[in-house]
Symmetry: C2
Subunit: 346 residues, 2 copies
């Protein structure tokens, strides 16, 4: 197994990429390629005493100007660290790709270079969002920000993609798929949701109907399907709420001697919340719908996060998530075709 | 001052309406009208020993079938408790209206019966959302679910409406208006956000640019402007997160003797969070853009919540929020007109 990592993607690149890569080699018995300026990477490895055993550095000289339009990056800069990584994946010189670079650049780049699974209309970001209440401790939000504008059949495909991921990677059997909406009734929402509902109803996924925003943190579904605009809002509000609760709790516990004692009494529980909410544990968000696994690591990934993104990439390869999506998609297409010949109930 | 309350709106009507009305009379030196089935209301008051001093019961015999389409309620049932209340307001027999009934019915009904301020394209729900971190302890989300589909000029009007409310009712000087979006750059978002940004930039409100979902719980703006679809998702995710944190904290604190002791040590702080997150304190959400104040109380309002909704209604009358919106709207129209003759910067 060989995983290629974008050496210059993310706020803490390239140092944390190298550190994470070295950790992954040790823990997962995997070969790693790191792309980027060869001299800089090698110097940094030397300087920080990072072993390059089983880590291959592949030169990618171009540095992207900060102001560059993300959607053009991979097309315009074939020699940047992201492009070189994507081409390694495309040319079968690696099994999966991890990058903490620009989400927009990565989705467009991966779609162009690696390609979508046959029949998939759009690749989408699936983010595993931690939850503190409900049946499980997380759900998958898809699309979490890739495609701001979507058509109903795209949402149905997101459902298929998300179900395959939750089943294969998180072992969630027959994952419950909810359509994020402003009410539970079948007729709620914009045209997008109303029409997506009809397709989902007849799709091969375990569709449980509309789920309101309130149901997401309570884990009322395993896969929450939505367009990238609402998905981004949902995800960021969740993050903001977690941060604000964390800040408030800290303030409460640090107030005086008594409250500090209180903090000690519930140390384990608070630690559990922190661990659940720790994004570096999750690794990254898979970009689903592509022929081969691509993982978007968080922009502020630390070595642990990069290591976990590699673990996630390995799992996607081993579990053949792309193959599973491809198979489910055939079922969706057959069932949707049948749907199309029937009168649509409204 | 006379406030009319929908006697049969909400899960706990009519008992909690009557109890809340009686509390409001005592606390705010106000006259109240309660609409609904006269016999039922009077019997209930008698049975629960609720004084009807300064409370007038106005008969509204019709009960709405549960399956009725909300948007048709006020048009079809002129004798239901909501309609009768709205007509009292329209005919100057009351100064403001409070209802915990269906949001959809109330917005359509209020728009039809009470009418919009001249020039306002749509009435919108403004919900004061509590925050645990940031400069203030709340922000106004508008539209929080009234109009799923919006045009850019509607968002600009929401900004004007929200600013007037936050300034007049919550005393927030020069409230910071943020456009809820998926990135901070001017070009981010769908066509709606991109175009709304250009209008807001030149509007009379204190526009601080795009705000991401993460910024809302951190109170990065005082007024968060968005369409009703995203607004509903944002609001419900916030609610769900608050509930899930509450559940988790309860679990942590109730685990064993030690953690129970911990709970005692931080009792005040936790109480503070609970109070901040208590929706009954806030009263209800104003429906802004109408000629006269209409307050949507939460569906599960208790007597305290009804009382606070009445307080809110009184404040809206005293502070003449509708008049303030009307004045700001004129400025917006002048500035937008000027904008229209200029080339739009992109």
């Amino acid at each position: 197994m060989k995983i290629v990592i974008d050496g210059f993607g993310g706020d803490n690149a390239p140092l944390d990429v190298l550190l994470g890569a070295a950790m992954a080699v040790k823990e997962y018995n995997v070969d790693i390629i790191v792309t980027g300026d060869e001299n800089k990477l090698k110097d940094m490895a030397k300087e920080h005493n990072i072993s390059l055993d089983r880590i291959e550095i592949v030169h990618a000289p171009t540095v992207i100007p900060v102001e560059e339009e993300p959607s053009l990056i991979v097309r315009k800069y074939k020699d940047c660290s992201m492009s070189v990584g994507l081409y390694k994946l495309r040319n079968d010189e690696a099994d999966a790709f991890v990058s903490a670079g620009s989400t927009g650049a990565l989705i467009v780049g991966a779609t162009t270079v690696v390609g979508r699974i046959k029949g998939i209309k759009r690749a989408a970001i699936g983010t595993v969002v931690p939850t503190l209440a409900g049946e499980h401790d997380s759900y998958l939000l898809i699309d979490a920000g890739g495609n701001s504008e979507c058509r109903p059949e795209m949402l149905a495909q997101f459902a298929v993609m998300g179900s395959a991921y939750m089943n294969k990677i998180l072992g969630r059997e027959n994952p419950r798929v909810g359509l994020l909406n402003i009410g539970t009734e079948e007729t709620k929402g914009l045209e997008l949701q109303v029409n997506a509902y009809q397709i989902l109803k007849k799709s091969p996924v375990n569709f449980i109907g509309n789920v309101e925003g309130r149901g997401l943190p309570l884990c009322e579904c395993d896969v929450a399907v939505t367009d990238g605009f609402s998905g981004n809002i949902a995800l960021k509000i969740t993050e903001g709420m977690a941060i604000s609760f964390g800040k408030k709790l800290k303030k409460i516990f640090k107030k005086n001697m008594l409250t500090k004692m209180g903090a000690l009494c519930v140390k384990d529980g608070i630690g559990e919340i922190k661990e659940l909410m720790d994004t570096s544990k999750a690794g990254g968000a898979p970009i689903l719908g592509l022929k081969k696994p691509v993982i978007k690591a968080h922009g502020n990934s630390n070595p642990e996060a990069f290591k976990n993104a590699v673990r996630q990439a390995i799992l996607c390869v081993e579990q053949n998530v792309s193959g599973e999506i491809s198979q489910s998609l055939e079922k969706l297409n057959i069932e949707t075709k049948e749907t199309n010949t029937e009168p649509i109930e409204q």
